[in-house]
């Protein structure tokens, strides 16, 4: 079998404050954004961003306080991240600052109350 490029990947934890600079570097290096998602782990929220270039994956992960989750939007660098950031806002309660296309919590219309982050404290997001 030929070399399996899909097995080559890394997941790097960075400080939330370093996110924009790290993402800017990846953009400059020619990477495209593959996906972004949130995970509840204990009292924290993890946000994982996956980038791809020539079938090589690299990931950047930040941690947020689950009670008051807030992060910088990377939509100034990758405008199409608005899909993932609006989803994370609606389902996990994360507020993204400077989100390029903000649907104001009306992207996901579901019958159950959101966010599903058990530690999230309503009213603290503003």
């Amino acid at each position: 079998m030929t070399e399996r490029k899909d097995l080559t990947q890394e997941i790097i934890f960075i400080e939330a404050g370093d996110l924009l600079a790290a993402v800017q570097d990846l953009k400059a290096a020619g990477y495209r954004l593959g996906q972004a998602c949130a995970t509840t782990v204990g009292g924290e929220l993890e946000v994982l961003y996956t980038f791809e270039k020539d079938n090589i994956l690299t990931n950047r992960k930040i941690k947020l306080d689950a009670k008051h989750p807030e992060a910088q939007s990377i939509s100034a660098i990758y405008p199409y991240v608005f899909i993932y950031e609006n989803e994370m806002h609606d389902l996990f309660g994360i507020t993204f600052k400077n989100l390029g296309l903000d649907y104001g919590g009306k992207f996901f219309k579901i019958s159950k109350e959101t966010p599903w982050n058990p530690l999230f404290e309503k009213g603290d997001e503003n």
Binding site: R4, Q35, E52, Y80, I83, K106, I110
Partner: protein
């Protein structure tokens, strides 16, 4: 000054087999903005990872979508296998590739039928879905199911297919190929079809790249994005190039999918001629995923991501499925702006939206 109105498109609409809502902001009959809203069929499938052990989650992930169900099952297994560091036997990788390409033919034929139905060509719709039955019959004969198969498991497969059966499948696909040639000539050459597709919803290569488009939407704009080229499954042993078109319009997206029908038949024939004998699964006992892994697949609609995170327990902490329709929504929103209201159904259809996938 043009009159500005907002027209709700969906969640129920004749061209939408599944519900999505678009608020179309119009100036006279030109769309100036499209605001999407999803969630009508959100099932919380990812959340079920907290209540189902990781070997069983494959049954749930397969149910993300009824069209590319095998691919979702494979994507999940690939992510967990990467997490566990499991090497899948070559015969299983070949069989996975064959079923996945059959799934691509099934998906594209389903889509072509919906497209024909969308522009009012009923007989074309019926002929397309008649041919699709051939693929569903092959699924049924080899897996026992027509839509959900449950043959994929972490570590390999549950079912083998004999080499004789595989040879017969190739013969049937060659017969299908002849009928497809006649059928697809109508899609590509009929003037009434071209009137609805050519020049509609054009997306340049630069726009497709900057909007993160994937699959036939990206390839229809000349973006060479095809995850199969990373060599996973048996793809590293098969000879193929991504099907690219330069037009970027609805016609180009349709042409990419038609070319991929024939490409998939060729890939299956190659895989059947090269498939090795041997085991179809490795046994995994006494271990649980304890790390993180991001797997990728080229689903019929484009690139999909499968993120799994485990903590050494029988339940994963997280499974995330990022589907191609999700990635193509920004391109849809962009192409809708500036289009005529009458072209909106074709534009929505030609990204081949799967809302079940998008919402999970």
């Amino acid at each position: 000054m043009a009159k500005r109105t907002i027209i709700p498109f969906g969640p129920q609409h004749p061209v939408l087999p599944e519900p999505i809502h678009l608020d179309l902001v119009l100036e006279d009959e030109t769309v100036v903005e499209a605001i999407p809203q999803i969630g009508y069929i959100h099932r919380g499938l990812e959340k079920l990872v907290e209540k189902n052990e990781w070997p069983e989650m494959v049954y749930i992930i397969e149910r993300v979508c009824g069209i590319c169900s095998f691919g979702h099952g494979w994507g999940y297994c690939k992510s967990v296998e990467g997490n566990l560091g499991v090497e899948v036997p070559p015969r299983a990788e070949y069989l996975r590739t064959i079923w996945h390409e059959l799934g691509r033919i099934h998906s594209h034929l389903l889509w072509l039928g919906l497209l024909a139905d969308g522009f009012g060509f009923e007989s074309l719709f019926m002929h397309t879905w008649r041919l699709r039955e051939t693929i569903l019959d092959i699924f049924e004969e080899t897996t026992g199911g027509r839509i959900i198969f449950s043959v994929c498991k972490v570590g390999g497969l549950r079912k083998d297919v004999s080499n004789e059966t595989l040879d017969k499948i190739v013969v049937r696909l060659r017969g299908l190929e002849k009928e497809l040639k006649e059928l697809t000539e109508v899609f590509l050459d009929d003037v009434s079809v071209k009137n609805r597709l050519v020049g509609v919803g054009a997306l340049t290569k630069e726009e497709a790249t900057s909007l993160g488009a994937v699959g036939p939407v990206a390839r229809g704009s000349g973006v060479s994005n095809d995850v199969r080229q990373d060599g996973h499954g048996a793809y590293g042993e098969l000879d193929f190039e991504p099907c690219l078109e330069e037009g970027g319009d609805c016609y180009a997206r349709c042409k990419v999918r038609i070319r991929e029908l024939f490409q998939s038949i060729g890939l299956i024939a190659q895989a059947v001629s090269k498939i090795p004998d041997g085991e179809i699964a490795v046994e995994i006992k006494g271990t649980h995923p304890a790390g993180e892994f991001v797997g990728r697949m080229e689903q019929p609609r484009g690139e999909a991501y499968y993120y799994s995170k485990g903590s050494g327990q029988k339940f994963l902490e997280r499974i995330r499925v990022r589907t191609p329709t999700n990635a193509n929504i920004p391109a849809l929103v962009k192409t809708l702006a500036g289009s005529d209201l009458a072209d909106v159904p074709m534009l929505v259809l030609t990204i081949d939206p799967c809302i079940s996938c998008t919402e999970r």
